[in-house]
């Protein structure tokens, strides 16, 4: 079965996010004054073969821990959906 994984990687709350702050300022400069707490992270998409959802999820989790996110500064979350071929 082919799965599509969508992974979001965000800076941990306690880590300053200078990029988010810069974007927030830029939005305010465009008069979007009702916006706050902008945080910027990474979004990844990938496809993987796995017999079952559980196995696929386990693998995505492992890939995030090992490579895709840096646990010192980042958190991650993901979703898995069946992909059409």
């Amino acid at each position: 079965m082919l799965w599509k994984a969508r992974i979001e990687i965000t800076l941990k709350k306690e880590v300053l996010d200078p990029q988010g702050a810069a974007v927030e300022n830029a939005l305010k400069a465009l008069h979007y004054n009702n916006v706050k707490q902008v945080r910027i992270g990474k979004y990844m998409e990938l496809y993987l073969e796995a017999e079952e959802r559980e196995a696929g999820a386990k693998q995505v989790e492992e890939m995030c821990r090992r490579l895709l996110a840096n646990p010192v500064i980042e958190d991650f979350s993901y979703t898995l959906t069946e992909a059409e071929r």
Partner: protein, 237 residues
């Protein structure tokens, strides 16, 4: 004393480190390809600056999985001397040989230029030739040099004197203006607990000749030579 300079795909300061060791210090140096797994015969390893794997994903994240890194971790565990400069520092944190992480400069720009760093611990193999609190003029060139570490580990780093260099101004004072990247606590270099692995964002190999503007970077390399001589030449493994 023989230096090994690790070459990852995308390293680009390997040549500079090599030149410094070979032509300025007149010591033995060779390049070590990222697929190499045998590090016997080297007394110190340099992980040079550059953009290993383009710094895609995160600086140092992909290089950390190259075959040579398994051997580097072994080498370090056995007490071998490992110096990571800039991208090399990033690789060492990603590999877990050094605490913390280096992420996007707080001002979001790449920054190249001269900085001053103060030696916070002059008792290490990398700093033995420095005076206490000596201020060194050494350049930086990076986009991801913003050092972060959680509060608990930071306490431990301070207690163990693992913070080795801090960004300061020419007079040796810490200030936001003297910090080129927003690093926590103005940290420019840290070492591991046993003091044989050092990561630094500034480039000592770029400050090795008066013609280039400073010779202060030699302090780091002279320290290594001095340490090695005093210890009587045994290699790291």
């Amino acid at each position: 004393m023989k230096f090994g300079i690790i070459v990852f795909p995308g390293s680009n300061c390997d040549l500079d480190a090599y030149h410094l060791v070979k032509d300025v210090l007149k010591k033995e140096a060779s390049y070590i390809w990222w697929e190499e797994t045998d590090l016997s015969g080297y007394d110190a390893l340099i992980l040079p600056g550059g953009f290993s794997y383009g710094d895609y994903l995160r600086a140092g994240a992909i290089a950390r999985f190259t075959p040579v890194m398994g051997a580097v971790i072994q080498f370090a565990r056995q007490g071998g001397l490992v110096l990571g400069i800039c991208n090399g520092f990033q690789v060492l944190t990603e590999a877990g040989l050094l605490p913390g992480a280096l992420y996007r400069n707080a001002h979001l720009q790449f920054r190249c230029g001269w900085t001053y760093v103060r030696v916070e611990n002059h008792t290490l193999p990398f700093t033995g030739a420095a005076r206490p609190d000596q201020v060194l003029k050494i350049p930086v060139a990076h986009g991801d040099g913003n050092y972060y570490v959680g509060p608990e580990v930071l306490r431990r780093l301070k207690k163990n004197r693992q913070i080795v260099l801090r960004y300061v101004d020419a007079a040796g004072r810490e200030s936001a203006a003297a910090n080129p990247n927003g690093s926590l606590d103005h940290i420019a270099a840290v070492c591991n607990e046993s003091g044989n692995v050092l990561g630094m964002m500034p480039h000592p190999e770029r400050a090795g000749e008066a013609l280039l503007g400073s010779e202060d970077g030699l302090v780091i390399f002279r320290s290594l030579l001095q340490y090695f001589d005093q210890r009587g030449g045994g290699s790291g493994d």
